[in-house]
Structures are given as structure tokens and as C-alpha cells.
């Protein structure tokens, strides 16, 4: 990719090449469904779970690349590197979801993060560089914390393979020595902190608004869905495999429940005050991390499949919204919500897709977001987490206000100019895919739900 950039003048070809290149692993993913293997001594695992996430991350990367075709004209040079870095990052994220061993998780995390640090500051203006620096410093600290936690777990159990850790921990539990070793608890908490950064949970969320605002919009889109998906994949794998013992799970489930409740509340309440649409979606991303953590707190197969389905719908809705924002901001040159006034008159289809994706983020039918929330809340109520569900639905009500504010601004009010917003064919294709996906998941979620359920079937409890 980088070499190609040197020789090819027409940058659009690069994008096309990348997408074609992505199609190959996607095809492999589909072909391998149903198989289960592991190699490299358990460091690389192939099962339904990893295939689901590989497919998700590859699709997200493909959609982001398609939609950045217009955007990359802002980068003076290094367009080839841009695509290459996205691919590297996607590779790292896929590896994160497909490995059964702590060190590999760390390596994959670093691979994707370092690529993202560079991508975030790609615009080279002051905001973008500041965002990149913030992301890098906070990311480095959280990786260090994560490694520290992993070190504790290694020290206690003598192994970094998740299933062997599980054996050792359950041996500890059955011999009643669990609470004698604070190392395990400390390790778990530190790992929650490390992963919490990635998924943008409170109290590890301070980087989100600034990074989301400063980064190039396609990268913001990519960050908001792909790293969140991979983060949750890793959390699911680590906590359900290594720490998946009922006695232990009561404690970490409660931790996730509380963190989730705080995340969604803070995310939604602060989003109410935002005037920049990227910052607003950043806070909404924090809130959605909260909703997803409700699924983590509901320790059951319904909760797990709920998380996977929610990630799929969230990816589609968020990507759809961001892709529309890419097109509109390209034209208006601004990310302020007030500059979206009357957009429905200028570009009705674009405004409709954005409105539809925002409505999916609220969780109103007939969108996929509605089904996803119902599914996750269902799982939580089954585990007697009524208090958490009530907080979550009230938060959805609060979120309606700021999402609808954008919808209102677009539909009600006269635009500053009557020109339509131009959008290239690839961008329109990406918009069509995401919005139709959201609609389909809202009316007929059964197919993806089944995939999600079979993906989590391997977790034993």
C-alpha cells in the first residue's frame, strides 16, 4: 500500500485497492464460519466469536475507507500511509478479538493503538495534533496499567493463557483461598481500567470528546465503533473465560453495572450541552459504552449475545451518522450543529439518513437500535437488574433530547444556502449500506441475532 502510493498518482485507486484487499479476508471469514481451532499454542483462536468480530471490524474498515475517499483530499501527502495505517489498525483489532492469551492481547492492542495515534493527528492542524498527543499519552498510560494488571494475574496463576488462568482461578475458588489473594482482585481492577480506556467508559473517558473532535472524521467514525467493538470482544473473552466463575462474576458484574450506570448518565447529560456534532457523538459514544456494560453486568448468554447484536447495530448507526457528517462537513466546512440548519431542504436523502441513524441511537422503532436495547435490557431484567434497566431507559429518554435537536435543526428552519451537498458514489454506497442495515436489523433482526447467539455459545455459563 505504501509502496503503491509512491507510484500511483490517482489516489482514488488506492482506496479501491484497499477495499478489494479487504474483501479477501471478509470472504475467508464467511467461509470459515462454523469451525473451531487454535494455533500457535493457543495464541490465535478461531471460533465463532472471533469470526463475528473479524467480520464486523473488516466491514467497519471497508465502510470507513469507502467514505474517506472524498476526505483524503485534505491530506497533502501520505494518502497511501493513511489507508495502510487503517489496515494495520484493523489487523490489530481483529487479533485482539481472536487471541486466547494475555500477551497477545497486549501486543494486538498496541499495534492497533499506535496506528490510531498516527491516524488521529493526520490533519496536522493544532486540534488534530493535540488530539493525537492526548490519545497517545492517555493510551500509553492505560496500556501500562493494563500490563500491570496482567502481570499480577500472571504472577498469581503462572500462566497467560486464558483457559489455563480459568483453571487456576477455579482451583483457588474451590479451595476457598480466593479472598486471600488480593492480587487477583487488583489484577482484575487494573485490567478493567486498561480496557475501560479503550471502550470509553467512565472514569476513563476524558480523552473522548477532544480526540473525537480533533481527529479526521472518518477516523473518528472508525474509533467510535471499531475500537469499542474490539474492546468489548476482549473484555468478554477475558472476563468470561479467565474470570468466569460464578463467585467472581458477581463482583465484576456489579462493577460493570455501576460503571455502566455512571457512564451512560454522564455521557448523556454532558452531551445535552454540546454544540459541536462530533463532540456530541463522542459523549453519545460514552453513553453507549454504558448501555453495552449493562449487557456485561447481565451475566448470561442472553447478555452476551445482546452485546454482540448491540455492537452490530451501534456500528451501523454510528457509521451511518458519521458518514453523513463527513459529506455535510466537507461542504459546509464546519462541525457545528447550527450549521446543519435546513439541511433537509438542501440534501433530503442525506438528512434523512442522518436522522434515521440518530433515531436508531435513541432506540426508537423501527430501527435496529430499538431491538438492540430491548434485547440487552431483557437480559438485564432476567438477572434481577431492574434498577439498572430503569436508569438505562431514563437515559435513553435524556438522549432523545440532544439527538432530536440535530434532527429538528435539519428539518425545521431555513438553510443558509440552497446548494445541495455533493457526495461521491462510494460515499452514497456506504450510506445506503449502513442505513438499510439499520432498518433491516430493526424489522428483521432474527438473522444477526442468531449469528450473535451462536458466536457466544462457546462461553460455558
Amino acid at each position: 500500500m505504501i509502496l503503491l502510493d509512491l507510484v500511483i498518482k490517482q489516489k482514488k485507486v488506492l482506496a479501491a485497492f484497499t477495499v478489494v484487499a479487504l474483501a479477501i479476508p471478509i470472504a475467508f471469514t464467511v467461509m470459515l464460519w462454523g469451525e473451531s481451532e487454535s494455533s500457535f499454542g493457543g495464541m490465535l483462536v478461531l471460533d465463532g466469536f472471533s469470526l463475528f468480530f473479524k467480520f464486523l471490524i473488516l466491514s467497519i474498515a471497508a465502510l470507513v475507507i469507502i467514505s474517506s475517499v472524498d476526505y483524503v483530499n485534505k491530506f497533502a501527502r501520505f494518502q497511501g500511509e493513511y489507508y495502510a495505517l487503517i489496515l494495520f489498525s484493523a489487523g490489530g483489532l481483529m487479533l485482539m478479538a481472536s487471541t486466547g492469551e494475555l500477551i497477545s492481547i497486549y501486543v494486538a492492542l498496541e499495534l492497533s493503538s499506535i496506528s490510531l495515534y498516527a491516524l488521529v493527528s493526520f490533519l496536522k492542524d493544532s486540534k488534530s495534533s493535540e488530539a493525537g498527543l492526548k490519545y497517545m499519552i492517555l493510551g500509553a498510560i492505560s496500556s501500562a496499567v493494563l500490563l500491570f494488571g496482567m502481570a499480577f494475574v500472571y504472577g498469581l496463576t503462572g500462566t497467560t493463557h486464558l483457559d489455563q488462568i480459568a483453571d487456576k482461578v477455579s482451583a483457588l475458588v474451590s479451595s476457598g483461598q480466593l479472598w486471600d489473594s488480593p492480587a487477583l482482585i487488583l489484577g482484575m481492577i487494573l485490567m478493567v481500567a486498561g480496557f475501560g480506556f479503550k471502550i470509553a467508559s467512565v472514569p476513563f473517558q476524558m480523552w473522548v470528546p477532544d480526540v473525537y473532535e480533533g481527529a479526521p472524521t472518518p477516523i473518528t467514525a472508525y474509533l467510535s465503533v471499531a475500537s469499542k467493538a474490539a474492546g468489548f470482544a476482549v473484555i468478554l473473552r477475558v472476563f468470561y473465560t479467565a474470570f468466569g466463575i460464578p463467585l467472581l462474576s458477581d463482583s465484576w458484574a456489579l462493577v460493570f453495572a455501576v460503571l455502566g450506570a455512571i457512564s451512560m448518565t454522564i455521557g448523556n447529560v454532558v452531551a445535552l450541552a454540546q454544540t459541536n456534532i462530533k463532540r456530541m457523538l463522542g459523549y453519545s459514544s460514552i453513553a453507549h459504552a454504558g448501555y453495552l456494560m449493562v449487557g456485561l453486568a447481565a451475566v448470561s448468554s442472553l447478555g452476551r449475545s445482546g452485546i454482540l447484536f448491540f455492537l452490530a447495530t451501534y456500528a451501523l448507526s454510528n457509521l451511518g451518522a458519521f458518514i453523513a457528517i463527513i459529506a455535510i462537513s466537507n461542504k459546509t466546512g464546519s462541525d457545528e450543529i447550527s450549521d446543519y440548519t435546513g439541511m433537509a431542504r438542501r440534501s433530503p436523502v442525506l438528512a434523512l439518513v442522518l436522522a434515521f441513524c440518530l433515531i436508531s441511537l435513541i432506540g426508537i422503532p423501527p430501527t435496529g437500535g430499538f431491538i438492540a436495547k430491548i434485547y440487552i435490557f431483557n437480559a438485564a431484567i432476567q438477572q434481577d437488574l431492574l434498577w439498572l434497566v430503569i436508569i438505562a431507559v431514563l437515559n435513553s429518554v435524556i438522549s432523545a433530547y440532544y439527538y432530536l435537536k440535530v434532527v429538528k435543526v435539519m428539518y425545521v428552519g431555513t438553510p443558509a444556502s440552497e446548494e445541495a451537498v455533493p457526495s461521491s458514489i462510494p460515499l452514497r454506497a456506504a450510506l445506503a449500506i449502513t442505513s438499510l442495515g439499520v432498518l433491516l436489523l430493526g424489522i428483521y433482526p432474527w438473522l444477526v441475532l442468531r449469528l450473535a447467539e451462536s458466536a457466544v455459545a462457546m462461553f460455558s455459563f
Partner: protein
């Protein structure tokens, strides 16, 4: 030919959506849009009237359709109507059809307006037809966005109204209620024996013997109830209503007052009395009947008192809705077979009467460009037809015999008065009857001030209702009189639902 084989309910339900899609894709001229909307809503209306005619009065749930939807949580696509929901379906399709004509003069962004109006109709129909709790909740939420768009784009702008404020208030208030309703529905789902089900019919007939409450039944009842209380609306959760009704465009007010409020009442009746054998949540309504009847009476009296003070014609009608829906709630929680039948009849009656009242207000505003009562007066000379119909509507609202208003209110009062729900219910009923007196006061006062004084110079030459407008307002009047003189037509359908219930 067996009517059930063509799935009539699904047709009625999705015909408006199909119309919306066709309009979105193909219609260009405003006239085409309006005519096609009228045609499709008429077909839906005609089909629902046909179902009414062939409905077996003693047959319970009919035209049932069941299909798989989300297998993993046992949610089904389950539709059906009984004596309670069928009149509501007809009311919805009728008001949907009339709303097209009431909106005939909308020329700004016509296409979007009718698309939202049609989707709204589907949402409301879905609520009345659903027999699966999750499907019920889905359709309950579907009506939110169309209402938001309709009110905030085509509503009354400042300085006379605050359309955007009213729209967002409506959405947030309703969502707030739905939030709790979702928690309640999911708790009810988990109270059913495994494998859990959302099937409303099974839950209602199973009752306390079959359900194992995941959380106490009282909690489930009130979680679900709060959404209905907001929708109805009950004092003190009614503050969204005057704003939403007043600032909505006329046709939307007609639908809002006519059927949207009934969604709340319908939900309450299902909660309390289910499908005739038991409520969805057993045992709670009996214990809390005194409290709920008290709220109903307060709604009636507060609504009536607030109405007297209004100087904006539309706001006056809106507040009177609070008062009239209070009667519905009184009838429901008097827990008497007759009073609930009266409540159901009052739902239908209020839908027609208030629908007509809002349509009339729209006409008056359209012709005179005035909505404030102090600025109006003596219109009887200039607009005789509108005057007569408005007067009939007003008299129906205050419960004049030979109108359906009387039939409904009388049944509610008779049923509540003879109810044995708790001691002192007679006092509550008498207090509520005071609401009728106040109601007579504001209606007659309003009619006198707007129509029956010396004519004002500035209104010389204002047009009266044109042919199309005359057509639909006469249709309303005919129905109001018909069911007022012969309520048996409706009571034959509604009554059998509750005969076997306490």
C-alpha cells in the same frame, strides 16, 4: 371466501405505510399526494367498517393473525381485535381518512406532511391491534417521531404558539413514560413461566394462578401504568397536552385528541380488565382503586376549572380533553362492568366529538385568522354552517341527550355510582358530575362569545365552510347523532367483552 385468509388486519395496519412509501417515491404534485392519501385511507376505513359489520358480537377475539417475529425471546407478530379494540380501529381509520381532508390546505412541504401523517396512522392502529406486549410497545413508540415532525414543522409558530417547544415536550414526556413501561413489560415477561412469552392473551387469561411475579405485581402495574397515565392524560401528568394540542396543525390535533389519547385509556383497560377474563396484571387495580379514582376526579375538576380560564379557543378545547378523559379513567377504575363499558363508549364518543371540535377550531382559524376568544364574536351571521356544527359539537361535548356524549357519560356515571369498588365512590361520582356542570358552563360561554353576539364588522365577508369541509363535518355530526340515538350499535360490540368480568 373466508375473510381471515386475506389477513385483513395486516392490510389495514400497513396500508397507510404502503401509501406513505408510494407517495415518497412517486408522487410529485400536491394534488396527487392528497388524493392518493385519501384513497388509501378510505380503503382502510372501508375495510374496517366491513370487519365491524361481520364481527361476531359474542365471539371474543377475532381476525387473529400470528406469525414468528423474534424467536429467541418468543416475541410474535400477533394481531387481533375484540369488542374493545374494533371500535378504536374504526375510529382511527375514520379520523385518518378525515384528517387527509382537514389537511387539504397544507401546501408547504406537502409530501413530507402526508408521509408522516400516514406513518402515524399505522403506529396508532398497531397499538390497538397488537396482542403481543413487545409489538404493542414497538407501535407505541412508532408514533413518537411522526408526531414530533408534524408538530415541530407544521405547527403554530411564535408568537401565537411554540411549536418546537411543544413538540420536544411531547416526545420527552411520552418517552419518559415509555421508559417505565418497558421495564414493566419486561418484568411481566419474566413473570410468565418459562419459556417466557409476551403473549397478552395468555397472560391475561392465566392471571395470578399462572404468573410468578419477578417483582411485586404492584410494581409491574405502576411501571406500565405510568406510561398510560401520561398518555391519557391524568392530572398531574397532563402538562404536555395543552401545549401539544394547541400548537399542532389542525389535522394532527384531531388525531392527537381523537385517538392518541385513547391509546392510554386502551392500555389501562387492558391492564385492569384484559380481554374479559382478567387484567394483564392481576389484583392491583382493586387495591388502588380509591387512589386512582381520586386522581380521575381531580383530573375532571381541574381540567374543567382550567378550561374556564382559557382565552385561546384551541387551548380551551385541549383542556376540556383533560376533563373528559378523566371520565374515562373514572369509569375504568370504578371496576364495574357497566362503568368500564361506559368508559369504552366514552373513548369512542370523545374521539368523535373532540375530533370534530378541533376540526371546527381549525376552520374558524382558517377563515378568520383569529383564535383568541376576545377577538372573535357574532360569527353566526357570517358563518352559519360552521356555527351550527360547532354548536352541535359543543352540546355533544357537554353531554346533551341524543348525542353520543350523553350516552357515554350517562353509562359511566350509572356504572360508577352503582359500583362496589370501595366505600365513598358515590361521593367521587357526584364530584365528577360537577365537572359536567362546569363543562356546560365553558362550552355555552364559549359558543356565546364566539358566535352568538352582535356581528363584528371585520368579519363581514369571511367565507363559510366549502363543500369538502361541509362534507366531513356533516359526517361527524351524523355519526355523533346516530350513536347518540342508537348507541346499541356500539354497545352490542363493546358490552360482551366485559360480561364475564367482575
Amino acid at each position: 371466501m373466508n375473510i381471515e385468509s386475506i389477513h385483513p388486519l395486516t392490510i389495514i395496519l400497513f396500508l397507510p405505510t404502503v401509501a406513505a412509501l408510494l407517495i415518497a417515491l412517486f408522487a410529485k404534485q400536491p394534488r396527487t399526494i392528497k388524493v392518493s392519501a385519501a384513497v388509501f385511507t378510505f380503503i382502510a376505513f372501508a375495510l374496517s367498517v366491513y370487519l365491524f359489520v361481520i364481527f361476531d358480537r359474542d365471539g371474543g377475539l377475532q381476525f387473529v393473525e400470528k406469525a414468528k417475529w423474534i424467536n429467541s425471546i418468543n416475541a410474535q407478530y400477533y394481531l387481533g381485535v375484540d369488542g374493545l379494540s374494533l371500535p378504536m380501529v374504526i375510529l382511527t381509520t375514520f379520523l385518518g381518512f378525515v384528517a387527509v381532508f382537514v389537511s387539504w390546505k397544507i401546501n408547504v412541504r406537502t409530501k413530507e406532511y402526508f408521509i408522516w401523517l400516514l406513518i402515524l396512522e399505522t403506529g396508532i392502529l398497531g397499538v390497538f391491534m397488537s396482542l403481543d406486549l413487545l409489538l404493542f410497545f414497538l407501535f407505541w413508540e412508532v408514533e413518537l417521531i411522526p408526531m414530533y415532525m408534524l408538530i415541530s414543522i407544521w405547527g403554530t409558530p411564535p408568537p401565537l404558539g411554540r411549536k418546537e417547544y411543544s413538540a420536544i415536550k411531547f416526545v420527552v414526556y411520552t418517552l419518559f413514560g415509555s421508559a417505565f413501561m418497558l421495564a414493566g413489560i419486561l418484568s411481566l415477561y419474566f413473570s410468565t413461566p418459562a419459556p417466557h412469552t409476551f403473549d397478552m392473551v395468555a397472560i391475561a387469561s392465566g392471571g395470578a394462578a399462572w404468573l410468578i411475579p419477578a417483582i411485586p405485581f404492584t410494581a409491574i402495574f405502576f411501571l406500565i401504568f405510568i406510561a398510560f397515565a401520561i398518555k391519557l392524560p391524568t392530572f398531574p401528568l397532563h402538562t404536555w397536552l395543552p401545549d401539544a394540542h394547541t400548537d399542532a396543525p389542525t389535522a394532527v390535533s384531531v388525531i392527537l385528541a381523537g385517538v392518541l389519547l385513547k391509546m392510554g385509556a386502551y392500555g389501562m383497560i387492558r391492564l385492569v380488565a384484559g380481554f374479559g377474563d382478567g387484567g394483564l396484571v392481576p389484583g392491583v387495580a382493586e387495591r388502588y382503586a380509591p387512589v386512582l379514582v381520586a386522581f380521575a376526579v381531580v383530573s375532571v375538576l381541574y381540567g374543567a376549572a382550567a378550561t374556564v380560564r382559557q382565552t385561546d379557543l384551541k387551548r380551551l378545547i385541549a383542556y376540556s380533553s383533560v376533563s373528559h378523559m378523566g371520565f374515562v379513567m373514572l369509569g375504568i377504575f370504578a371496576l364495574n362492568q357497566l362503568s368500564i363499558t361506559g368508559a369504552a363508549l366514552q373513548m369512542f364518543s370523545h374521539g368523535l366529538i373532540t375530533g370534530l371540535l378541533f376540526a371546527m377550531v381549525g376552520l374558524v382559524y382558517d377563515k378568520t385568522h383569529q383564535r383568541m376568544i376576545p377577538n372573535l364574536g357574532g360569527l353566526a351571521r357570517q358563518m352559519p354552517v360552521i356555527t351550527v356544527v360547532f354548536s352541535i359539537a359543543g352540546l355533544a361535548a357537554l353531554g346533551l341527550p341524543t348525542t353520543i356524549g350523553f350516552a357515554a357519560e350517562f353509562t359511566v356515571f350509572l356504572g360508577s355510582f352503582t359500583s362496589e369498588a370501595f366505600h365513598g365512590i358515590q361521593t367521587c361520582v357526584v364530584l365528577a358530575a360537577l365537572g359536567i356542570v362546569v363543562g356546560a358552563g365553558y362550552i355555552l360561554w364559549m359558543l356565546e362569545r364566539v358566535f352568538y353576539r352582535a356581528p363584528l364588522e371585520k368579519y363581514n365577508g369571511v367565507p363559510d365552510a366549502n363543500h369538502m369541509e361541509k362534507a366531513y363535518i356533516f359526517a361527524f355530526v351524523v355519526l355523533i347523532m346516530l350513536f347518540g340515538v342508537y348507541p346499541k350499535l356500539l354497545l352490542d360490540v363493546i358490552g360482551p367483552v366485559f360480561t364475564s368480568w367482575g
